[in-house]
Symmetry: C2
Subunit: 326 residues, 2 copies
């Protein structure tokens, strides 16, 4: 079997079966049918070996992650995922690698109702990308823009876990109980995009962004959209049991600056906080209030007594990391 | 100005201004509004240095080409282009390079009514990709599948020019008059996707594919979709004045096997050939009948006297070249 047939065999028919796919993999392009009354939400991401994933990364995890990263962008807009195309660059066609990668793509796409309808595979340095197309009712998309002074800032899940997972993968974090180590590695390698939470936040949150570059960096992007600032209470930052079990030295740096979490950061009017919390909880996702939007630009971190805390230097930064910011 | 600001500055606002773009570059994802009664046509392509373009390629040409290649997939489906996202991998942010690349993207997108609504830029080996989203009236998309024995095979433009342009770029073809050399290089570096011809062929052609891997290879893909074969008259192959001026040695290999032409190959019922020719001509695109679909699998090349011609070995083949074939 030639390389081309191998690739076609493994990368055809991945993800959910959707009745709105008229033409899937195998033609010059895919044809899909959007439902009436909806807008399309479009995003693209490219993950490179050595930049976004470690050389030798488990291909099944990579397949999961390449879909999850773009799903997180859709989640931040409150969109319901629908269709994906894949981009794959490989030095050669290794059947076991392709089969594992395809399993990861399939699992993540299927779990979120996404049909993989096309793609492009080329010979080159290891890289994988996904282009996701989601749906929102007209005018209902969440935006980065829209926060107002006095809004509460909330975050889903437990940011910082992925950065701790990366430290584990690099051998920089040792002695953790096995279950905690597994949890942190999974948070890095099998991120759970907060799709249900994003949909639940439509009409409740005033602004949203996904936390992929680190909590403070992404909060900065959200505030920048309206020229605002914020106060963040570090004692209110949610912390997983696994992260709490790690030596405390780098914990705050991971929580505030660690990338790759794919949580959602939401700004919500105080009177809607309870409703938002309930809606997000109904989607099975924890939500924590961590601070407030303020009129004065800049982000001020404070401890439980209200004293200023200097945020530790961010631990993670890749080139032009802002997803669809261009 | 930081790298990130540089990139944002150059890659924002490219292409046509479209009233159906609700959210463009600068949020987690873009939001666009499809018109009622239409299906979406989705395609993605990734061009790598050393595989799809020569190291040191003029960045403006690369910007044009990355959009043009995906537009050609839309053309083959008869779709009207609408929105694009970009993928860009660069070793560093060189402002002159970025500005030129952006000019090329902008020119090609604008010429075809496409708004560039988002993208992802990463640090890595030189590569550029585009994801295009087009529109077709419900059920009107052209497919690879659909040809029948007896159908005429037609091709737009003059396949083989791009392969001659590549030979020129590699210094393998010398002594051509300057105007011809310029024409062939432009056919390689500034391909004109046959968008108008694809739209014109809706309802007239029975099957379509774009010629990106070589005429015989792509004809093979089209025939394979229905288990058919074809007879190709090599004397009927259209030839540009520039290609006719090149030494004849490799001409037939370029015409039948050269890649990167981005022409359309169409199968049409004989009684509709005149109407198709007229519709495609109205879009400003030349069309030539080059053979017929036959029931027996396999492609038979014949000369003007009907004698079998052995097609020369294809000159171009990259890994898994089939666009959205997976």
């Amino acid at each position: 079997m030639g390389e081309f047939d191998l690739i076609r065999r493994h990368l055809t028919g991945l993800g959910a079966a959707r009745a709105d796919v008229a033409v899937g993999v195998g033609d010059d392009a895919a044809v899909v049918r959007p439902p009436p009354g909806h807008e399309l939400v479009l995003t693209t991401d490219l993950l490179l070996e050595g930049v976004h994933f470690l050389p030798g990364m488990d291909p099944e995890g990579l397949g999961w992650k390449v879909i999850a990263v773009s799903l997180s962008d859709l989640a931040a807009m409150g969109a319901e995922p629908a269709w994906a195309t894949l981009t794959l660059s490989l030095p050669g066609a290794d059947e076991a690698w392709l089969a594992a990668f395809a399993r990861g793509v399939d699992a993540c796409a299927r779990a979120h109702g996404v049909a993989v309808v096309g793609g492009d595979t080329v010979r080159g340095p290891p890289a994988a990308g996904a282009q996701l197309c989601g749906l929102v009712p007209e005018g209902a998309a969440l935006r980065r823009k829209g926060a107002r002074p006095g809004d509460m800032l909330c975050v889903t899940g437990t940011p910082g876990d992925a950065a701790a997972g990366l430290a584990l993968a690099r051998g920089e974090l040792e002695g953790l109980p096995e279950a905690h180590a597994r949890f942190l590695r999974a948070r890095l390698e099998r991120p759970a995009p907060r799709v249900g939470a994003g949909i639940a936040a439509r009409g409740l949150a005033r602004a949203a962004i996904d936390v992929s570059d680190g909590l403070l960096a992404d909060l900065g992007h959200l505030l920048e959209a309206d020229g605002l600032g914020a106060r963040v209470e570090v004692a209110a930052l949610p912390c997983s049991a696994a992260l709490a079990a790690a030596p405390p030295g780098r914990r705050l740096a991971w929580q505030l600056g660690g990338g790759d979490d794919y949580e959602l950061l939401l700004a919500v009017a105080p009177e809607r906080l309870a409703a938002l919390r309930e809606a997000v909880a109904a989607a099975g996702v924890p939500l924590a209030a961590i601070g407030r939007v303020e009129a004065a630009p800049g982000i001020r971190c404070v401890d439980a007594a209200g004293r200023a805390v200097e945020p530790p230097a961010a631990g993670w930064n890749h080139f032009a990391e802002e997803g669809d910011g261009g």
